[in-house]
Each structure stands twice: as structure tokens, then as C-alpha cells.
Amino acid sequence: MNLRNGRSKALAIGAVALVSTLSLSACGTDDNTSKTTSGSSTGGSTAAAPAKIACADKGGQLLGAGSTAQAPAIDVWKAAYSAACSSATLTYSGGGSGAGVTQFNQGKVAFAGSDSALKATEVDASKAVCTGGQAIDLPMVGGLVSIVFNIEGVDKLVVDGPTLAKIFDSQITKWNDPAIAALNPGVNLPAADIQAIHRSEDSGTTANLTGYLAKAGGGNWKYPAAKSWAGQGGQSANGSAGVAALVKQTKNSISYVELSYAQTNKLNSAAINTGASKPVEATAANAAATLASAKVVGTGADLALDIDYATKAEGNYPITLVTYEIVCDKGNKADTLPVLKSFLNYTVSDAGQQAIGAVGYVPLPAELAGKVKTQIDALA
């Protein structure tokens, strides 16, 4: 009896806790602007000045899906855009480029974010949803892949294409290998095993790295550029976050992540010996230089870029990437088109590109941004 009593008391407490939690949160709000952001966070909720954004006449719901690599960028844009244009709501689901393009071609989202340009089959499939037109690639978010390492006592490292290819394919297995030592005179490299770490899931980042290795690896990377990892040996981790955590945890490791992950996790990035007079550091400025020299290979309205991984130009960081927004050139859905155009016009503007520079991306060079803007204005 006593026991039952005690138990029902526990139950009552549980129920009260639940109910009070619910009623406590029953006064939820979307309004995050009135809050005072704690001191240091300069970005804060009201990130970008809402002044320069040209809103669409009519608001509405805009859905996008795709690349996780550009999700934080979209997040920044979304906050600024919805602060300026309150009648439009924007939702981006970062489930991966492949999933995003599939959803786009099924007509379920207004735009897709993708790490790689569309393939011919995907463009063909898009004709079903883009009435009278087809899907096009608009370069929007620039970035770079940084080679990160964790070696005790070493904070500067220089590598080149062939060496990297051999390291990631387990052809070089010791840090004090002559090939690495030759690139790093005066650096005391340990006689330890190299723990090469790669992404366990398919990703655009892997595609960029393997694209670089295939081009600049001097034939030491026997595999094609692909989203899935093909190299021999090494360990893997899920997502850039997982890779960054594993590099931190594992001594004598080397891996590759986007710039923002290297920065937030305070990992050392290797400089790359491209054949230029001195090794190129992994910085946004160096990546922007590479982007500026990239060629547009898309035809018509499509602005797919070809980045020269084998670049030898001074201060051009080779492992640079660009991710695209995928939209219809003609035949976008009439009810979302105005919001889509106004949003993309903001993202490609100077203000939009500078805003994502703060979270580890590389703003598009002005000339390219101009081309993109022309295409956005022509969307129908």
C-alpha cells in the first residue's frame, strides 16, 4: 500500500513535470529579434543589414534541398532574407546533393543545392518539370578543401599532389618518408605510421579532393574523381564534423575538410606545393584567385565551372570548389518564381557573398557573380 502510494506520487510528479514543460513552452515565438545577443557574438540574430534586399511583390513558401556543404551559407542568407522580406518563408533541407537533385527533378522543391554540376541524364530528366526549359547550374557558394593534419610538434607542413596521392593510397606509410621530408626541409618528422582519414559517406568534398589527386597526382592516384572513396587503407569517419573530430583524436593523422571545419576545430592546414615559387597556403584569398581563373564550361544559360586543379599560378590554391544552385532556366513554378529570383539576387549580391565569407566560404569573384546575376534576371 505504502509502496503503491509512493509510486503514484512519482507518477504524479512525472505528469506534473510533463504538463508544466508543455504549458511553459506553450508561449513559443518565432521572434528572435528582440533578444539581446550575448556580448561577443557580433553576427547575432540580426546578422546582415536588411536594407539592400529587394523583396518579391508577393511572398510565399520557397523550398530548397541538397548539398550539406552549403547549408550553413543558406542559413546565413535565410536569416537575412527573411528579416527583410517577412512575407516569404524559406526552408532548405540539407540531405545531400544527390537527394536534392532528385527532389528537384520530381518537382518537389524550387531549387536544389549541388556540389557538382548536373550530368546530362539529370538535365534530360529535368525537362519534365521545367516546362519549356531545363535545369541549369548557377555557381553560388565558393569554398576550399583544406588538408588538415595532427602531428605532434609539427605545425607547418608542405605537401604536393603526388605525395598526397601516395599518402591517401597507402603507398607512403611513414611520416619520415623521403618524399615528405624533401618537401619539408628542416622539419622534424616523426618515424610514425601515417593515419590517413577519409569520409565514410559519399560527398562532394571527396569528389573535389580525388579530382585534384587525379589531375595533380602525377599518375599516383589510379582512381577516377568520385564522390565515394576508392583509395586503399586508412580510416573513415562520417561527415566533415566526424573527420575533424577524428583528426583531433588521432595522433599522426592527415585528412581533408572544408575551410570552416579546419577553422572551428583549430586544425593545422598544410600548404600545397603546386609548382609555383612558394607553397600555397589554404586561405580564402588564395582560393578566390583560383576561382577567378576558372573557366565556364556550361552551355547556354548553364554556368558550370571547370576549376584547374593543376594550376601552377602564384597564390592559386588548387583544391578549390564551387557549389551550385540548380534551377530551371524556363518553366519555374509561377508561384515561387518571384521569391526565388529575389532570393538568388540577394545571395549573389556583394552583401550576400560577403556575409558567407564570415562563416568560412569564399566569395565569388565579381566577374563571375555578374554572369550569374544576368542569368538570374533571365529566369522565367
Binding site: 544527390g98 532528385t102 560527398s203 564522390k227 565515394s228 573530430a245 577524428l246
Partner: protein
């Protein structure tokens, strides 16, 4: 005057018999309808998977059963399930070997051994752990379990290395291997198995237990002769539910395991993969063929689940004398 009440009573009886027949009919059809609905949904899913699988299998240029690689989106699509099948079965096997005895032990502890003051809160704690989302298990696994497994794995390598299975060929590597995954899965399925088993043990007829004790049995002999035989089908069912989760677990495995496409019997070396993990990791960037190929692997997981469950059903059927209901 006197004849009225019987007539009324008869009428009421007839009416109530009619009601009850109608009630029975409605209830029977309702429950059968649910069964049929479930059947249709499940069959639709199975058909959906089978259709997508056939699309993929026709284009595979490797042997689906024996190939190690998983590159369906390459120019020459090759994909196979050898590594995945091995990894799934081994990790689930390790999980069950560890989790089932411990779960039965805990269920016994809660139902028969522990002082009630400990048993109740502990039962709640176990229930709570069934509610922890798998992403949290994954993060805990990587940040807490893996570093703590380091010593244990090198110890096993040292003393059990001669078994080949526990031989560690690479050193200085975090133990993000199938063995660790097995242990993590064991922890994840423990609450499920415990919760169901505990309920089953609670249902053991008091009479059986008291009869055993009255005959002079020790507590353990009572449990062996009265509780365990009664609970055995329940334990098996509970284990199957747990196994279902262990076989299909996605995020936690994907977070903890360092995957590759090498089939290695060295369980302490990082590597391998499981079906669900492979689907989760490859899905987001997959092309249409890649998606269909992943569906085909999902279908294999279906078949494996089916075989294991079928075996369990057969064991339960042989022990039917203990089950109370007609079916």
C-alpha cells in the same frame, strides 16, 4: 401477469445474444481488417523494394553476392553485399551474445531479485534508455565508448590474439571496429529486450513459483524450473525485437564505425560495414542507379530478418504448451 417477465427476459436474452453476435462480428471484422491493412502496407513496401532492386540488379556488372565494392554510380556499375552481410551479421551476433544474457539477468533482477526500492527506479532507468535517440548513442559511442575500449582491445589482442579473430594487425588506431559496434548495439538493444522480458516474467503464474518453492527448491531452482520455461518464448520474441533494431541500426553505427570495403575476420581492426549504415551513408549522394542498388541491399536485410525471425518462430512454436491463448 406471470407470463410477462419470462417473455421479457427471453426477449432481452435474444436481443442481447443478437447484440453480442453483432458485436462479435464487428469486432472480428475490425481486427481482421487491421491485419489485412497491415498486410497490404507491408506487402506494398516489399513489392516496392523488390521492384527497385530488380532495376538495379539488371545493371550490376559484378556479382551481387560476392563483390566487396559498392560503386553503383561509377561508369562501370559494380556493387555487392559480401562485406555488408558479414558486418551486419557479426555486429548483430556480438550484440545479441552480450545483450540477451545480461537483459535476462536484469529482467530477473527487476522481477525476482532486487529489493523493490531498487527495482522500480531501475526499471524506469532502463525504459528511459529505450528512449535515447540513436544519434545520441552514436555521439556517446564516439566520444566516450571508443576511447574506453582502447585498453580492452589491446588486452584482447595480447591474450586472445591467437584466435585470429581478436588479432589486431594495426596499432595506434582508435578501435572504431565491428567489435566496438557490437558492444554499442548491445547497449542499445538492452533496454528493449529487458523491457519486454521483464513484463513476461511478471506474468509467470504465482502458483508455479510457490509450488516450486514449496517443494524445497532454492530460488535459482525455482527460476530454472518455473520462470525461465514459462518466459522462454517471450525472451525469444524480445530478442527478435532487439535483433531487429541491431540489424537495422543506422546512425549510431555510421558514427562509430570506420568503414571500408574489405572483408576481414580481424574484428578488432577498423573496417567493414553494415547494410543500414551503408544505405544511410551512400543514399544522400546516390544517383538513380545507386539508389536502386541501395534498395536491393535493403531487400537483403529484409530476407535476413525474415530468416532469423522464422527460426525464432519455429523454436517458439515447439514450446507452445506454455502459451495461454488458443493460437
Amino acid at each position: 401477469m406471470t407470463s410477462a417477465p419470462p417473455a421479457d427476459a427471453r426477449g432481452r436474452a435474444r436481443r442481447s445474444r443478437g447484440d453480442s453476435r453483432r458485436g462479435d462480428n464487428v469486432f472480428f471484422n475490425l481486427s481482421r481488417g487491421s491485419g489485412v491493412l497491415l498486410l497490404v502496407v507491408m506487402a506494398a513496401i516489399a513489392g516496392f523494394l523488390a521492384y527497385r532492386s530488380l532495376l538495379a540488379l539488371g545493371k550490376n556488372e559484378g556479382n551481387f553476392l560476392t563483390t566487396f565494392e559498392w560503386t553503383p554510380d561509377a561508369t562501370k556499375p559494380v556493387f555487392g553485399i559480401a562485406v555488408l552481410t558479414f558486418g551486419t551479421l557479426v555486429s548483430a551476433f556480438i550484440a545479441m551474445v552480450i545483450a540477451v544474457p545480461i537483459a535476462v539477468g536484469i529482467a530477473l533482477f527487476i522481477s525476482h531479485y532486487a529489493p523493490r526500492r531498487i527495482a522500480q527506479p531501475f526499471a524506469y532507468l532502463v525504459d528511459l534508455l529505450a528512449a535515447v535517440p540513436s544519434i545520441v548513442y552514436g555521439l556517446w559511442g564516439v566520444l566516450f565508448l571508443v576511447p574506453h575500449m582502447d585498453g580492452l582491445t589491446s588486452w584482447m589482442d595480447q591474450y586472445l590474439g591467437w584466435t585470429y579473430v581478436f588479432d589486431q594487425s594495426s596499432t595506434g588506431v582508435p578501435p572504431r571496429n565491428l567489435f566496438t559496434v557490437g558492444i554499442l548495439l548491445a547497449i542499445m538493444v538492452l533496454p528493449i529486450i529487458t523491457a519486454v522480458t521483464r513484463e513476461v516474467f511478471r506474468q509467470v503464474p504465482r502458483m508455479h513459483e510457490e509450488a516450486a518453492l514449496a517443494l524445497g527448491a532454492t530460488r535459482w531452482e525455482m527460476i530454472r524450473t518455473a520462470v525461465l520455461p514459462f518466459g522462454r518464448p517471450g525472451i525469444i520474441s524480445a530478442s527478435m525485437l532487439g535483433l531487429g533494431r541491431a540489424l537495422g541500426e543506422t546512425i549510431a553505427v555510421a558514427t562509430v564505425l570506420s568503414t571500408n570495403s574489405v572483408l576481414s575476420l580481424h574484428l578488432l581492426d577498423p573496417g567493414g560495414g553494415t547494410f543500414a549504415q551503408n544505405i544511410a551513408l551512400k543514399f544522400s549522394e546516390a544517383q538513380p542507379l545507386g539508389r536502386d542498388a541501395l534498395m536491393a541491399s535493403g531487400l537483403v536485410l529484409f530476407v535476413i530478418t525474415l530468416l532469423v525471425n522464422g527460426a525464432a518462430r519455429m523454436i517458439i512454436a515447439r514450446r507452445k504448451e506454455y502459451s495461454g491463448a488458443a493460437a
